[in-house]
């Protein structure tokens, strides 16, 4: 069958500072009818620009597109602007990554969809509105008729992405381009959206070009896969072939670095990622980390509660509270990794910051080496913070852009008067070496480093004070998959050599399975399940844990398709009215150290 879309030698360059900088350098692929093709690669691989180039949405004055993009029998690159406008939204529709910013905030969602209907199908306003309600039903937005007149800010991220999909489907396109449509979403919502796209693809009989960095999503959805590196398609073929027998060294390195949920069955301890050489494709077998867990508790958190008050209205009346952390208790041993997992708004980051008292908790106790941190005066607290440090999510925001990295690493030593200036800088150079960078890089500024290198610098800075506990808040989430694997390997090595304890905060179940000794699952500020990693992942008890694990896409096309119907749940909000009293919770121990919250009626439907 002839392909719907045929891309040949597509090359796109952007003008930067008066010079043409190639971003896509000759990409070719076909998409057949009803086929889903995934374009996969890390940041900077040119996959998104490829999508924008197909739609001719790159900035007109600052970009240059060459090659051929055939949509059935027409070359899109040679169409006039007016003809191209009919293609956009008509024959080819697009869904973008950021549902929060992809909708115009001042227009109702219904109007924004009707716009496309009026432009392409020439519907009247009332007909367009009726059609919009039908589309809302189609993408399973609850109470569709009443929601078309709402503005985007009244929708959650997942619901906005449904609106975007409804908009894309408005004119029954032949091809849907989805540019990282689930990357900004929580994992359970991602599963819903992926199911929805698959379902709609069947219903509408359209082809899908799916752009993603997530090999799990690729395995879940794509019939064929194109792997991109530095603006080139380095490998393409049927998805199961690529996953089973990747031929290009880069594909092999990429797949080796992908954490796969369930891959840790039968392993007792955290395990390093295998390192595959990008050029030769040779790999070293992953080694299990040595046993680092000490018998004594380093950190004891009891009944930790952090709430934020929401004030508003005329006189700053109390309108509600965010119950960010509610009655949370856990222990952490020296040399141990405890992972806090959960979706956005579950309170995992607030827990980490409350432990360090970067946010003041409302109640509870945090004992470090037996001493309660929460009661300490500011000066004593600063002293104790030396023993617990933090690594942040965004390696671009966590380094002062005006401070050389050497100065940044030396700063904690100088603040705490632990070293002279000269000693501190010598120590900084030493630490840079420790995290796999060159000591002579100390004089450079953060913008000269890549994301992964910056995260190494942050780790070096955290290590400067020789802490016993490191709170790692989504520390590898923003990194590309191969870089992520390297940074995790570094963290495991450091744990082995320095006996560090990690409070590892993450939403990524697969990474958590790889690195942690114990896991705590959080939901709406509470721990719903906590226990040894093998127990929680191998025999999850709480309905929420089960939902979470079922939603994780597995990078193995052979395990695809164990799904149930499309649901439209939303992430629940921890905001409660001022008079809300949290219910008493009790936990039962299902196996040694594996505690599960006794759940109430609200979970009965999900548990069934």
């Amino acid at each position: 069958m002839p392909p719907i879309l045929s891309v040949r030698d597509l090359a796109t360059a952007f003008r930067v500072d008066g010079r043409w900088r190639p971003v896509v350098r000759g990409v070719s692929f076909d998409i057949g009818p009803r086929e889903t093709v995934a374009l996969v690669g890390e940041s900077g691989s040119g996959k998104s620009v490829t999508a924008l180039s197909i739609m001719r949405l790159t900035p007109r004055d600052a970009s240059r597109i060459t090659g051929a993009v055939r949509l059935q029998d027409r070359d899109l690159l040679t169409l006039s602007d007016a003809e191209m406008r009919r293609v956009r939204g008509g024959d080819v529709a697009m869904v973008f990554q950021e549902p929060m910013t992809s909708l115009n905030p001042v227009l109702t969602v219904g109007f924004q969809i009707a716009e496309a209907l009026v432009a392409h199908r020439g519907l009247s306003r009332s007909a367009a509105e009726a059609e919009t309600v039908r589309l809302f039903d189609k993408v399973r937005i609850p109470a569709a008729a009443s929601r078309v007149h709402d503005h985007p800010h009244r929708f959650s991220g997942g619901m906005r992405q449904r609106v975007m999909i409804a908009m894309a489907l408005a004119c029954r396109p032949k091809l849907l381009i989805a540019d990282e449509p689930t990357t900004a979403l929580d994992v359970t919502i991602q599963a819903q959206i992926l199911d929805l796209i698959k379902l709609l693809q069947d219903e509408e009989g359209m082809s899908v070009l799916f752009i993603t960095h997530d090999m799990g999503v690729v395995a879940e959805i794509a019939d064929r896969t194109v792997v991109m590196l530095d603006g080139r398609a380095v490998e393409s073929g049927p998805t199961h072939e690529i996953f089973r027998r990747p031929t290009h060294p880069y594909s092999r390195a990429l797949l080796a670095a992908v954490p796969a949920l369930g891959a840790m069955q039968g392993r007792a301890r955290p395990t390093r990622f295998p390192v595959v050489d990008r050029v030769t494709g040779e790999s070293a077998e992953p080694g299990e980390a040595p046993d680092t867990v000490q018998p004594a508790n380093l950190l004891e958190v009891r009944n930790l509660t952090t709430r934020f008050e929401l004030r508003g209205g005329l006189f700053g009346r109390l309108r509600g509270r965010v119950h960010a952390v509610e009655n949370v208790s856990f222990d952490l041993k020296a040399g141990e990794t405890l992972a806090l997992v959960g979706e956005s708004g579950c309170g995992k980051s607030t827990t980490g910051r409350s432990v360090l008292r970067l946010i003041e908790p409302l109640a509870g106790s945090v004992r470090l080496d037996g001493e309660d941190i929460l009661g300490l005066p500011p000066r004593a607290l600063r002293e104790r913070r030396r023993r617990m440090q933090m690594i942040f999510q965004d390696p671009f925001a966590s380094l002062d852009p005006r401070m050389s990295v050497g100065a940044a690493i030396a700063e904690p030593l100088l603040i705490n008067r632990l070293a002279s200036r000269r000693e501190a800088h010598a120590r900084a150079a030493d630490l840079l070496g420790r995290v796999g960078l060159k000591p002579e890089m100390a004089d450079r500024y953060p913008h000269e480093f890549s994301g992964g290198q910056r995260q190494r610098i942050c780790i070096a800075r955290a290590l400067a004070l020789e802490p016993k506990l490191i709170v790692a808040d989504e520390s590898v989430s923003a990194l590309d998959v191969s870089v992520k694997a390297q940074v995790i390997n570094l963290m495991l090595d450091l744990q082995a050599s320095l006996h560090l304890a990690y409070l590892f905060i993450s939403h990524d179940m697969a990474v958590v399975e790889r690195v942690s000794h114990r896991v705590a699952v959080m939901h709406l500020g509470e721990i719903v399940e906590i226990g040894p990693r093998a127990a929680v992942f191998g025999a999850p008890q709480h309905p929420y844990t089960k939902t979470l694990l079922a939603a994780v896409p597995v990078p193995d096309p052979a395990r695809r398709g164990t799904r149930h119907g499309v649901r439209a749940d939303e992430i629940r909000s921890p905001i409660r009215p001022p008079d809300y009293v949290p219910p008493e919770r009790c936990y039962r121990e299902v196996s040694p150290g594996h505690l599960v919250q006794v759940w109430g009626a609200e979970w009965e439907a999900a548990a069934a």
Binding site: R85, G90, A93, E98, T101, N104, L107, H151, M167
Partner: protein, 319 residues
């Protein structure tokens, strides 16, 4: 929206009180007796002087004096102008429409110039149009209104003799001719003030449009297949106006400042020239009252800007 409106209204009241307090403090802190000048002013009848002293209660404690003054102002009892020998409130009411006409027309002119030029410049950044518009904007707001005013008089009145340079409130004509004469004499003041504001507004509009044009939802709109016109008007311009309203609101005090200068240059009989003349004549009640009226106007127009903002941005009532 209703709650938002009410909130803005309630915030306006303490601002007005605060402004009146500042004004009064300035007056009270002023060295010597603010009415000392009156003693030497032969135009002031002694009974007026005595009444003033009693009304302002110059020997009462400061707070008492402030409350007295405020009640008097609220009751419309704004005192008596020595120079014009007429009640201050009457005087101001006579003059206010002219000022509002000149300021209002100049703002309309400014926006009519700035919005299209700013949008066009931003849609083609660094094009010839953008560079010309940008340079002209810089020239425009670097030219102080008093200098532009003099240049206009020099060119259009003295050299070309097209337009009168003295504003005449009582035009001796009827019918169409009356309107024509009014328009003719208003052209220069409105143009001077309007073009000055247009220059800075153009910069605001351009910057706001540039910011909005690179947002994701604009790409979404294009990906929908909308024409450039619809994308620009519905998706870019509408959103870009939100920050522009805020910036324009911040300019309101400066606009009234500009009105004072232009009124003075072209001898427009508005409250701005009234203020200057009252100062030169040491007519304190008029000075105080006009300053307060300016403050009220600023608060009022800020309120209008707030309403506009709430109308443009549906998220606002949510906050």
């Amino acid at each position: 929206m209703g709650a938002y409106l009410l909130r803005r209204l309630l915030i306006a009241i303490p601002s007005l009180l605060g402004i009146s307090l500042i004004l009064f403090t300035v007056l009270a802190l002023a060295p010597g007796d603010p009415f000392g000048e009156l003693a030497t002013n032969p135009n002031v009848p002694p009974e007026v002087r005595a009444a003033l002293r009693a009304k302002y209660g110059l020997d009462d404690p400061l707070l008492m004096r402030y409350l007295h003054w405020l009640t008097a102002m609220l009751q419309g009892d704004w005192g008596f102008s020595f120079a014009s020998r007429i009640d201050v409130d009457d005087l101001i009411l006579q003059r206010l429409p002219t000022t509002l006409f000149v300021v209002g027309s100049s703002q309309v002119l400014a926006l009519l110039v700035a919005v299209p030029v700013g949008i066009l410049a931003a849609l083609r950044p660094y094009s010839l149009l953008d560079q010309v518009a940008n340079t002209l904007a810089f020239v425009g707001f670097s030219l102080p209104t008093f200098f532009t005013g003099l240049l206009f008089i020099l060119v259009f009145s003295l050299k070309l003799d097209w337009l009168p340079f003295v504003y005449n409130a009582d035009v001796a004509a009827t019918g169409w001719r009356w309107y024509w004469e009014h328009l003719r004499q208003a052209i220069m003041p409105i143009a001077v003030l309007g073009l000055f504001q247009a220059a800075s507004y153009t910069r605001y509009v351009r910057a706001a449009v540039l910011d909005v044009a690179r947002l994701d939802y604009v790409t979404t709109a294009r990906a929908k297949g909308l024409g450039e016109g619809a994308v620009t008007l519905r998706h870019i311009a509408r959103n870009a106006m939100i920050p522009v309203v805020t910036l324009v609101a911040l300019q309101i005090p400066a606009v009234f400042g500009g009105a004072i200068v232009t009124e003075q240059i072209f001898r427009v009989p508005g409250i701005g020239s009234l203020l200057i003349n009252a100062m030169l004549a040491n007519d304190t009640p008029v000075v105080m009252a006009v300053t307060f009226v300016f403050a009220c106007l600023v608060v009022l127009f800020n309120l209008v800007a707030d309403l506009l903002y709430g109308w443009l941005d549906p998220r606002i009532s949510f906050r």
